[in-house]
């Protein structure tokens, strides 16, 4: 070499805005969602669903359906139960929790409108649906338990008589001296907050294709799902197959948000029928089925009060949370987690001593509820922040100043909350300061005042939050659920010098694959486009929990980092063997083996990989190159690694029509190390949009008979482009020390805080009119009622 080679420096992709490589196929219409798949000899399933919220199934006549064109098989709950055993959705660490055995297809009794009572399998979906119309079911309607307020009354029917009552779970927290603290308070504010039951409305409905190969007794399930390994275990258990005989494949998933991480009876039925028939069976929910059988969430009524002292310091909070979860606790995560999170997280951002919380989780004849994005957080945050603004208003304090006085100090960590939550390191004050700067809070307040003089009612609402991320086994594993708390990453050095990464965490569009590629490329020392990532296949990826509770980057990313460290060390050992040099003096940068001091290139990685794969005969006999590695990571230092953040909403209320116009939204949050800011910001924006949906539009409306009134997307309103404001995102970074990567989760903080911010903004706008709303969604009708206009 004549010209001096400029030495290569280490490069990192961590912290870089890199567009996701896997988005390209989706942009070309080449995604592979479950319902895009076609298998030879496949058949289509369609379900007969109960029109009653609660009914005895007197008889089912399948005769005409069996004769219908294209029909291959028809069955009732008893037929499906031959292939699928029932389950009970409880966790042993929720003391006293109870639920009833649930069957894939109802037997004897339907317990919500939409529960499957019979199933048809035909050659086309249309034929299966035609035959569904020919099935005669004789129902004897039973009284429906719909109102959670009266679910525990002695006069209310008990949905599952063997359980004794309609109480699924109850829990209390009492720090002691709470009544005395309230007695000594300067100001006490009280509110009752109601939260409309809503649902995830993934644009891709739930879908499954199950293919059973009887000759090998092997089940392959293509499933839109967040946790393939969990589902593999459960299919094996309830279809009575060895786990090794079940493969679950989740390719592209059209939105999940927690909706696609549960056991759904119709999906279990499809897998069971595939086993009975030895044929591939396809099923995709239609929108009506999605609205009435996807899990619902967040039907809560919380009575709450807060006591503050003369200076505005919070002394005590008391809450009573009642939540209705439908007729069964959902398997295997249970429907008690949401309420449990509410009592765990209420008051979470604040430094105060006295807390009393009571939770009651009751059964009712509505669609089962379970974990949906930000599980419990939106309720806890709305209750806390609603009380905070109410107290500030009563004291005549600026809400930002009230928060500055009460938020846990940034220098007070580690900190244990009143409910026993342990915080490693949060940054509430840094986030508050940054938020107020981003939104130019003082100028906004001045604008608001100036417009009020002109009869324009604008409001500013703040909402501080904490978010559960990177959970340990204390979330589910400790309660006996076979849901992995760890994840693995396998890295394979290809002979070209490229790396294939297989990870247990999964992709539903949040950017998991891009995130993993950035970590691997940075640590191994190769261009990011030289990393190919494989997710969502239990036959190939390491066992792991998947993607939920904002754990993808924090858990899966750390496993990828540790695997990358090891692969790199192995590559350098190989290069040392090839070069007969001490690997300690070598480094791998931009796919080149370099001298680690000068950066001078000594060997291309592709050449090292070629020799390692094809010419190990040229290496010392005792040296075996290790070109595939696996590392597992589970977070062990904390029950959860909490993040924090704060949001602000700026709204204008039309006091004549009750309409709320969202003018702008801001969020500052701290998810530790950010691997890809572009992806994180869009997670936050998307999360905020879902929170805004809850605040203003979304509610599953039932009548007193348990009939869902708005189970179409024409009737159930979701945020569309025209309703959404622009959202300004800022960050503070406090990496967690529980991992080398330092990443915490960011998937749910947007949804956690947005409803509270919007509520506080509306109430700030309405304050001069002495009106106040606390029942979500904040519809025009509710606003006009609060204003005394209707």
């Amino acid at each position: 070499m004549n010209a001096p080679t400029p030495g290569l420096k280490p490069t990192t992709y961590i912290g870089q805005d890199i567009p996701r490589p896997n988005a390209r196929r989706l942009l070309a219409g080449r995604g592979q969602y479950v319902d895009d798949l076609r298998l030879p000899r496949e058949l289509h399933a369609a379900f007969v669903r109960s029109p009653h919220a609660h009914a005895r199934i007197v008889s089912i006549n399948l005769t005409e359906a069996r004769k219908a064109k294209g029909v291959f098989w028809c069955g009732t709950g008893i037929d499906v139960a031959r292939a699928v055993s029932p389950w009970v959705g409880t966790l042993s660490h929720f003391k006293g929790m109870k639920s009833a055995p649930q069957y894939a297809v109802a037997i004897e009794r339907a317990t919500w409108q939409g529960e499957a009572v019979a199933v048809v399998v035909a050659q086309t979906r249309a034929q299966a649906e035609d035959a569904v119309q020919l099935i005669e079911v004789d129902y004897q309607a039973l009284p429906a338990v719909t109102d959670m307020e009266t679910a525990l009354d002695a006069t209310t029917p008990v949905i599952h008589p063997e359980l004794g009552d309609n109480l699924a779970f109850t829990r209390g927290i009492d720090t002691g001296q709470v009544a005395a603290a309230f007695a000594g308070a300067h100001v006490v504010v009280e509110d009752t907050f109601r939260f409309g039951r809503h649902t995830g409305v993934c644009l891709e409905p739930r879908a499954i294709t199950a293919d059973f190969n009887a000759s090998e007794q092997h089940l392959t399930v293509y499933l839109g799902n967040q946790a393939p390994h969990m589902m593999r275990d459960l299919f094996a258990k309830h279809l009575d197959l060895p786990e090794a005989h079940v493969r679950v494949i989740a390719r592209d998933v059209g939105g999940s948000f927690g909706i696609k991480v549960h056991v759904y009876p119709d999906e279990m039925a499809v897998a069971g029928i595939a086993k009975l028939l030895g044929r591939p069976i396809r099923y995709a929910a239609d929108r009506l089925e999605s609205m009435s059988t996807d899990i619902h969430a967040r039907e809560h009524r919380v009575r709450a009060k807060m006591g503050v002292d003369r200076d505005g310091r919070i002394i005590a909070i008391e809450i009573d949370d009642l939540t209705g979860i439908g007729p069964y606790s959902v398997y295997p995560r249970t429907s008690a987690v949401e309420g449990n999170q509410v009592v765990n997280l209420t008051g979470g951002p604040y430094d105060f001593k006295h807390y009393l919380a009571n939770l009651k989780v009751v059964f009712q004849n509505k669609t089962p509820t379970c974990q949906y994005r930000a599980v419990g957080h939106p309720i806890a945050v709305a209750v806390t922040e609603g009380l905070v603004d109410h107290a500030a208003q009563k004291l005549g304090m600026d809400p930002a100043e009230f928060r500055r006085l009460n938020l846990i100090g940034d220098d007070k960590y580690p900190f244990t909350s009143v409910s026993g939550m342990k915080f490693e390191a949060l940054s509430h004050h840094a986030c508050l300061d940054k938020l107020l700067g981003l939104m130019d809070y003082k100028a906004l307040r001045a604008e608001q005042q100036a417009l009020r003089a002109k009869g324009i009612y604008r409001g500013i609402g703040l909402a501080a939050l904490i978010e559960v991320t990177n959970p340990s086994a204390l979330f589910y594993g400790v309660g006996g659920a076979r849901i992995s708390a760890q994840d693995g990453c396998t890295l394979r050095l290809e002979p070209t010098g490229w790396v294939t990464a297989l990870t247990g965490v999964t992709e539903q569009g949040q950017g998991t694959e891009g995130m993993i590629a950035q970590v691997v490329a940075s640590i191994v020392g190769i261009p990011v486009e030289h990393v190919r990532v494989i997710t969502g296949d239990t036959d190939t990826t390491p066992y792991g929990g998947g993607t939920w509770a904002s754990r993808g980057a924090g858990i899966g990313g750390e496993a990828a980092l540790q695997a990358s460290r090891e692969l790199k060390a192995n590559i350098l050992a190989l290069a040392g063997a090839i070069l007969t040099r001490d690997p300690v003096g070598l480094d791998l940068r931009q796919a080149q083996i370099v001298d680690n001091i000068s950066g001078e290139i000594v060997l291309p990685l592709s050449e090292a990989a070629r020799i390692g794969q094809y010419r190990p005969d040229t290496l010392p006999r005792e040296f075996q190159p290790q070109l595939s590695v696996t590392r597992q990571y589970g977070q062990r230092d904390w029950p959860f690694v909490f993040t924090n953040g704060i949001q602000a909403s700026y709204v204008e209320v039309d006091t004549d029509t009750g309409f709320v116009k969202l003018l702008k939204h801001w969020m500052v949050e701290d998810c530790g190390t950010i691997i890809n800011p572009l992806l994180v910001d869009e997670q936050l924006r998307g999360g905020i949009a879902q929170g805004i949906g809850a605040a203003l539009f979304e509610e599953c409306l039932y009548d007193s008979e348990g009939q869902l009134q708005n189970a179409t997307m024409a009737d159930y309103l979701v945020p569309m482009a025209a309703e959404m404001p622009d959202m300004v995102i800022g960050h503070v970074a406090t990496p967690t020390r529980s991992s080398e990567l330092g990443a915490k989760g960011a998937g749910e903080a947007g949804t956690a805080g947005a409803p509270a911010a919007v509520m506080n903004a509306i109430n700030d706008a309405l304050a001069p009119l002495k009106a106040r709303v606390t029942d979500q969604p904040f519809t025009p009708e509710r606003l006009l009622k609060a204003l005394g206009k209707v």
């Binding site: 070309a28 219409g29 969602y33 891709e204 939105g255 998307g686 179409t712 945020p719 622009d726």
Partner: protein, 167 residues
């Protein structure tokens, strides 16, 4: 079925002759008969826009259109628009801005956005939001989508200006 109707149409420039049941929706026809699975059925009510395709250059909902209505029509789907390169700049802008997450709405979103840019090349952000408000996205919160469309419209307008100057 008994009453099949034979239709002759062009799909992405290719002549297609098929016998369809009268009840077959366009989106099911494209997906099931032609394996064009880029268009998705989302709501089956014409509300979500996931099935948006072009019929004779106009955006239509594949879930509200019957295949048997399309005798002699020219249908374009995301697959065709991709292969012709007609929306390559829009796709790049969506990619760079991360204006998609799960991608299920994206084909319909792209078809609708390309019509918007053709019809209203100077559209403001508010007009973009209004025009796109028949296309549901649960993942993004829409801001990145509005950004990507706005950027593509501006780039196309600048490109046309440049072409004028050169001419």
């Amino acid at each position: 079925m008994e009453n099949l109707i034979t239709i002759n149409l062009k799909v992405n420039g290719v002549a297609v002759t098929k016998a369809v049941e009268p009840r077959t929706h366009l989106v099911d026809f494209l997906r099931n008969e032609l394996s064009l699975t880029g268009s998705h059925a989302g709501c089956e009510h014409g509300v979500c826009g996931a099935c948006t395709v072009l019929v004779d250059g106009e955006i239509v909902r594949g879930c509200l259109t019957l295949a048997c209505q399309l005798e002699g029509a020219a249908v374009e789907t995301v697959e065709g628009l991709t292969e012709s390169g007609a929306i390559a700049d829009l796709q790049t802008a969506f990619h760079q801005r991360n204006a998609l997450q799960c991608g299920y709405c994206t084909p319909g979103m792209l078809v609708c956005a390309s019509a918007l840019i053709n019809e209203q090349p100077q559209a403001s952000r508010e007009e973009i939001r209004e025009y796109m408000s028949g296309n549901y996205c649960r993942c993004t919160g829409y801001e990145a989508i509005v950004d990507a469309i706005e950027l593509t419209a501006k780039n196309r307008a600048a490109g046309q200006e440049l072409a004028k100057v050169k001419a």
